[in-house]
Symmetry: C2
């Protein structure tokens, strides 16, 4: 009895009476090195840096996949995309996402975070990019969210409402307009006030819920830092690093406003906030893209630049201020940690990959939790990190025969590492010590004692993982022009339904 | 009269009665990305980060040369090595320094900072590595310093007191022992308490001077972060990134202790402190070296990784806390700024390259001062930065024919940029926008309007620089085994004089 109570106190301090509100701020394609506190030379994020100073900074935080959709599916389910189905078997180790031709979305079988939080009476809202399926049955309000403002797809085109419908923007379960028409992004200049709308939606939700007796869950996930970047006039042209930096500055402003609102409403001591990004900076955007700091390559790859993310936890009074942790964290942990803080048991009938980070968050003297980080690309486990060591079982930068064309790893060349063909190293994985060598430049010799010692630890972990693995049915295999956003829910009222072409389902093509 | 007074007030606030003490903390081979506040993932520098939070952080601070000796000569003289003589003409564009075979040192003609500060009654001490000539006439106490604890040379070997004497350690003008014998560094483990001795020397000097009516100048320049790294038992084995990180942790501890001492003595409001490093991280040390963050290559090169340095200014009450600046700064500016703060006029009979940063330091609303950054390698101007643009006139990573051997740029490959031969681009310089592209990965097309606009600004600046340039007599051309530290001043008292071999002067060989 006594020990049980103690356990409960440790997990949910100062919230015995009610579980905390939860806010997950998920950036789009923002790199580890894009925030000031992680060293960005442009220092455009005073509010995010302040958030870190008031909270806990994760130096070793990861996404579950180097691409938007699977990463977001992992966050919502606490499970690797290989389990929750957000991958493709169309070819080996292919990155796949949810364009508007995609037939499927997140499986009904999957239990999503907002739905589970209902057990503790949470009111949930998603603002921004959903990306887990844009057809009616997959939309947020049909998968556990009470409210939705944003879109089922990316904001990027090309769209013309003829061959391809412009992307609808939803308020809850009905569209209220489309990107580039009703929600304008000026193509030439990248000006748009969409982020300010997302901010206002967030602030309004927080205000409304602050007077409710129910806790809230806000999943705030704007996409301004995704190519093509946009920013409102207040930030347009302000960054010394161009349009991408403008978007970062606006995101930082929004983060500041949201935390300020919590303080203003005096609910900051009862709100757990986490800031991260869905994948590494899109290095293929060249000098218009984000920054992965000292890490190798970027988005789409399973090198550190593709999957190491900014990670900041904030909860004044509960998470000690100004702390830094080397706990290996993963976006999937936000699922498990949120449920734990809410007092809800994660699903017991399936493997959950996310771990509960609350012991580390709430006590800076708590020991580091030992756990692996898996790096998947589509249906293939490319690499794993255990402690300081990362073993690459497969490697691939991207397709292409030109040895000087390293689109995802521009300017970086490491022999046998930044490879253009899919290289199978499963017989003898390529090993790095990513603490001493975060840039994955210096292969640990397979002949060394260091290699043998590390692999003796890693091998059984990989073996156990593979043995227990039951891949989910892949959701990202089939595409069909007929499923595009021709006639989304609500289009009738707006008189904005487009004629639906004949169905022509086929295998989606995933190039890399 | 009125305007003159105002001018004085602006420059030396709260110190009308007496000029401030000055402390320059110069690290050895520490990279831009090695400090937490610049994003290091290991976050080993809480005290340096705190210093930045209490002071002003320079994001665009540079050294004057990518190697120890010329960088330090530039700091002491406020002048580029090409002017003060700390370069070699033995071959084109060669890096050169002061090994113990070097015949010369800093020219008598050069006016050094501690000597000039005498005009304002400063008492000066250097602790650590001098590196501007180890023969009697070049030693610190013969060149303006009142006190000296440290060495004229690097601590690295090989030495055996037979073919090559072990490096003497001085107290003022006499040796008190030698490295590896009297001042032990355990070769196998890298354990040594030398940094703690340097710290104690610094703290003791500060304490003694704090009760004097004279201001002091402390040049604190330990070399623990230079290969081979060493750390005292308190830090040995503590870093997750190995021996180099251990040394960083100890440096951070020392920085903290020095600032703490100033506060304890209540002289922090009358002490200007600047923290930086003499050149970029030694990337040739592979995974045992430091970190240059997102910048290209490292020590010995004129890419950003070789010359962009951490830069933190601290002066509570005068420098606004928690500020960040994009002012282009240079190690030579510490010469001019220190003199200005001391109320001493810089020499008027020669070109001084360092500018007075005090307007920017003392007023965060002050406009950025427009000034170029010169990147020299030996006798050649390799590149220049003006605003956001950096133009490479010459490029060279290092010698070597193996296209996969990029010792100074390991893992980095940019066509026509990371070149193995000396490439002459003077006809059409290779241009980067280092704000949008800090990694120097994306060459601005010479056909673009951007190129033409930038070069129209840069060209006349370079032309004026070259026209005004009168290279100093090179100090780093001649070597002689007879000038090694066989019989340094004070060796008689210690009975530690070694027999001097026959003089055999010849041109030094500088490989890169
Ligand atoms: Ca993304
Ligand atoms: Ca150095």
């Amino acid at each position: 009895m006594h020990s049980k109570l103690l356990f409960f106190c440790l997990l949910i301090p100062s919230t015995l009476s009610s579980p905390p509100n939860i806010i997950i701020m998920l950036m789009d394609d923002m790199g580890w090195g894009d925030v000031g506190v992680n060293g960005n030379w442009a220092k455009e994020t005073p509010n995010i840096d302040k958030m870190a100073a008031e909270g806990m900074l994760f130096m070793d935080f990861y996404t579950a996949n180097p691409l938007c959709s699977p990463s977001r599916a992992a966050l919502m389910t606490g499970r690797l995309p290989i389990r929750n189905g957000f991958y493709s078997t169309n070819a080996h180790a292919r990155n796949a996402y949810t364009p508007q031709t995609l037939v499927n979305g997140i499986h009904e079988y999957e239990e999503l975070l907002p739905k589970l939080l209902k057990q503790a009476d949470y009111k949930s809202k998603i603002i921004g990019k959903w990306h887990l399926g844009h057809r009616r049955q997959f939309l947020p309000c049909n998968r556990g969210f009470d409210e939705f403002f944003g879109s089922g797809n990316c904001h990027f085109g090309p769209f013309d409402d003829e061959k391809t419908p412009n992307i609808p923007v939803y308020k809850n379960d009905k569209m209220v307009g489309r990107y580039y028409t009703n929600f304008t992004i000026f193509k030439g200049t990248g000006e748009s006030n969409i982020s300010q709308i997302f901010l206002a939606e967030g602030l309004s939700f927080i205000e409304t819920q602050s007077v409710s007796k129910n806790p809230f869950f806000l999943y705030w996930t704007p996409d301004a830092t995704h190519d093509p970047n946009y920013a409102s006039p207040m930030f347009h042209g302000k960054s010394i690093r161009g349009r991408y930096g403008d978007a970062v500055m606006e995101m930082d402003y929004c983060v500041g406003k949201i935390l300020e609102k919590l303080k203003e409403l005096k609910i900051e001591q009862n709100t757990f906030v986490f800031f991260t990004s869905d994948n590494g900076a899109a290095t293929y955007r060249r000098r218009d893209g984000g920054d992965n700091g000292p890490f190798l390559c970027g988005k789409e790859t399973t090198y550190e630049g593709g999957m190491r993310e900014p990670g900041i936890a904030w909860w004044p009074g509960s998470i000690p201020a100004g702390t830094i942790t080397h706990q290996l964290g993963n976006i999937m942990d936000l699922f498990t940690t949120s449920l734990t803080l809410a007092g809800v048991k994660p699903p017991q009938d399936r493997i959950i990959d996310g771990i509960d980070l609350s012991p580390v968050l709430l006590d800076q003297r708590a020991p580091i939790i030992d756990r692996p980080i898996w790096y998947y690309r589509g249906n293939e486990m490319m690499a794993v990190r255990v402690g300081a060591y990362k073993a690459h079982y497969w490697m691939w930068t991207e397709f292409g025969n030109d040895p000087l064309k390293f689109t995802f790893c521009r300017g970086q060349y490491i022999q046998n590492v930044t490879v253009h063909d899919q290289i199978n190293n499963t017989e003898q994985p390529i090993l790095f010590n990513v603490n001493r060598d975060p840039g994955e430049k210096y292969i640990v010799s397979p002949k060394s004692r260091e290699y043998k010692t590390a692999m003796a630890i890693i091998d059984p972990i990989v073996k156990a993982h593979k043995e227990a693995l039951e891949p989910g049915v892949p959701s990202l295999n089939y595409c069909d022009v007929a499923v595009q956003n021709w006639a989304p829910p609500g289009c009738e009222e707006l008189n904005y339904c487009l004629p639906v072409p004949e169905s022509n389902p086929k295998l989606c093509v995933w190039d890399h």
